[in-house]
Subunit: 428 residues, 2 copies
């Protein structure tokens, strides 16, 4: 069994000439198994086809955006219709107001919204807004949490100065004592606490937050006048039809939104509670395409489906089935599989696999069997998945576990994950 | 003559409830004459229709993006076709490589490209890249030049800390001595000189750069190993079919691109010369929608038109006719009109008009006559404009100048522009 990949190879070769490293960012396959394709030619529903024509059921959903499945007919029809009428114009259309009204209706804490393009636009604005509202500077971040790749939030240091990361204090995710300690460190300069809805850092187990952690963040902000920011860019509408922390009974002051809004069309948003509105009128933020109408038309259809269908319960049910089915098959094959995070955003990591050589081998085998899974980044369910697709994944996993069992003792060290280091492995 | 605007008023009222201030960013009408509509319902070619059905020939082109005119049939057909096949997927399509190859072919200095969404993404990456490449920190910026609204480049201070603007030295645009002085100030920490292709700051006359200024910037960078960044986000392909500074014989190391790339569809890009490639592989930058294929399909059709048609010469010819016609009509009516910048990106400012009350009145009159012009931001020609459209604008201007002449002595102070202050007026 060997996937055909000659066209992908040719494109990689051409890309190396005109793109640094041939690819950049989170969609680079540089840290994925060898057989993973870099280029795709088609996407529909829960399926993607690489440029060599290989088809996969896709558990990544473009790293999140396709909540309802690729090329959703109704969403794309709304996009295309609006594009023909008015898209990027000298001002917004009525859809701008309509969409803002709908979001304010749907998101409990929100009194207003601002639209932008990148998820990182929304988190950057949240930072500016918290500082303007409080007239303070220091933000508490959980170490390792992802809030975009702009310098203030960057995980890698290349091109980033220490000044870019001024006025930041760090806690450990879901560690109440460290959160209190970071807030104490910020003292009377505490402007904001940022939180992802759950811990979805790459390369490690995910973790749902305890109610105590979320409540402590809220309580510190209430006591100090700081701003609680929940960064729902990645998790939005995959845990709730509202801000994800409503699941633990906590309302933020600002929430950041992105991938879930327009089913793959480019749109992000910042939503705020009433007390933040005034500061929001004072900051100046803008972008060439932020008021584009076609993605807003797509968002209105997406939100309708979020409100009126059981897309979430369906994803949860299928996610639960997948998790249980994988657990059984892993156990039968003699593997410990750690499955963490919400069932709609699964991550599978193998026990005793510090350099992920087992995870890489297994994902490579899954790929050969028509399933695109990820060895170290959380995956994303979409509403286009069916019971039959889950069957396909589970059946494929049996073969992948079997192959892994047969090869386990012979696996080479995984150089690509060597940066994780032994201390990372021990920390698990 | 009075434009109908009841639907616009209703939408503004609704918007105030769910959007801070009812609008934000560069498309807010807060600093425009009273009769300017905020919301639009349709756009085609060189024309826009506001929500009340009033039609205008649009000299703003959505503040730039619609180089070929709104809703261009071939561009939008390319977009729609690609959207149906594969848009935001778990990896890019072959179009990603094809578009990068075309851009590298077209832009003389460029050996590679990276795609993003906002113009400000490209300038932010340019900053990171220059610092990583040189392992230095200080950047020279021209005071008042716009490179996006992210904190490092922000013009307004709300939500921005001093630390966000660390390691910056300022010169005056097109002032060789001040450029040398800023570079001396940066000393051996000079990482980059940023330049817009011409001075297109809001609220003041535009200025084309002297050859000496551009050459001095190049020479300083050559001597010190710093990186010359030309920010072509706004001006791209409206001065040349290459980086705009090729007009003054100077090649940058990095160029930033945005509005001109995909005729209104969301895409921006960073292009770099060969020596910068290695540093570009070390920085980590990414965004949820950066590798979207549909805007790349739109860009490929846009670039074909840039290469194969006389779109630029046509815009230049019409822009020249407009400039000359306005100058004659202004003189006849007894007004001094300063028309600055490239003819494809005109700006008209009245002499002796420190709070722009004359400019506001004139633009309001132009609007009543079906012409959307801007009192203080550069405008943008598009290739969909015809001789007849220029006739329409020139004819409208005769009436507008006449009305202005009749009302000049009775105009109220323009509170909206009071922030410009008397010193600003004197500086002109």
């Amino acid at each position: 069994m060997k996937l055909q990949n000659s066209l992908d190879k040719q494109l990689r070769e051409r890309a190396r000439a005109v793109i640094p490293n041939g690819m950049y960012g989170h969609m680079s396959t540089r840290l994925l198994p060898d057989n993973f394709p870099q280029f795709f030619q088609r996407a529909k529903g829960a399926y993607i086809w690489d440029v060599d024509g290989n088809r996969y059921v896709d558990l990544m959903c473009a790293y999140g955006p396709n909540l309802l499945g690729y090329a959703d007919d109704a969403v794309d029809a709304a996009y295309a219709a609006q594009m023909r009428i008015a898209d990027t114009v000298t001002g917004p259309s009525a859809l701008f107001v309509e969409l803002a009204e709908q979001l304010v209706d749907m998101i409990s804490h929100a009194a207003w919204t601002m639209f932008c393009k990148n998820g990182a636009d929304a988190t950057q604005i949240a930072l500016m807004l918290a500082r303007e509202h409080t007239q303070r500077k220091t933000v508490v971040l959980a170490r390792g949490s992802y809030h975009g790749s702009f310098p203030w939030a960057a995980g890698r240091q290349a091109g980033v100065t220490l000044a870019d990361k001024s006025y930041q204090a760090y806690c450990e995710y879901d560690d109440v004592a460290s959160l209190e300690e970071a807030a104490r460190f910020a003292g009377d300069d505490l402007a904001a606490i940022f939180a992802t809805p759950f811990r979805h850092d790459a390369f490690r187990d995910q973790a749902l937050p305890s109610i105590e952690y979320a409540q402590k963040a809220r309580e510190i902000c209430d006591r100090t006048g700081a701003v609680l920011v929940v960064d729902d860019v990645r998790a939005g509408f995959r845990m709730a039809r509202d801000c994800s922390w409503t699941k633990v009974g906590v309302q933020p002051d600002i929430s950041c939104w992105g991938k879930c809004l327009a089913n793959g069309h480019p749109l992000s948003a910042l939503m705020g509670s009433e007390p933040l509105r005034d500061a929001a009128t004072r900051i100046y933020v803008t972008g060439s395409y932020w008021l584009q109408s076609a993605p807003m038309a797509a968002a209105i259809e997406t939100l309708r489906r979020v409100r009126e269908t059981d897309y979430l319960e369906k994803m949860q049910r299928l996610g639960q089935r997948l998790r249980q089915g994988l657990a059984e098959r892993a156990a039968t094959a003699g593997f410990g599989l750690r499955q963490t995070g919400p069932e709609t955003m699964p991550l599978f990591l193998f026990e005793d696999d510090p350099d992920m050589r087992q995870g890489f081998f297994w994902c490579a085998q899954m790929l050969e069997r028509g399933c695109y899974t990820h060895p170290w980044h959380n995956m994303f369910m979409c509403a286009a998945l069916s019971e039959a697709d889950i069957d396909l994944v589970l059946n494929a996993s049996e073969g992948a576990f079997k192959d892994l069992a047969a090869n386990r003792s012979r696996l080479e060290p995984n150089e690509r994950m060597s940066f994780l280091g032994p201390q990372r492995a021990a920390a698990r």
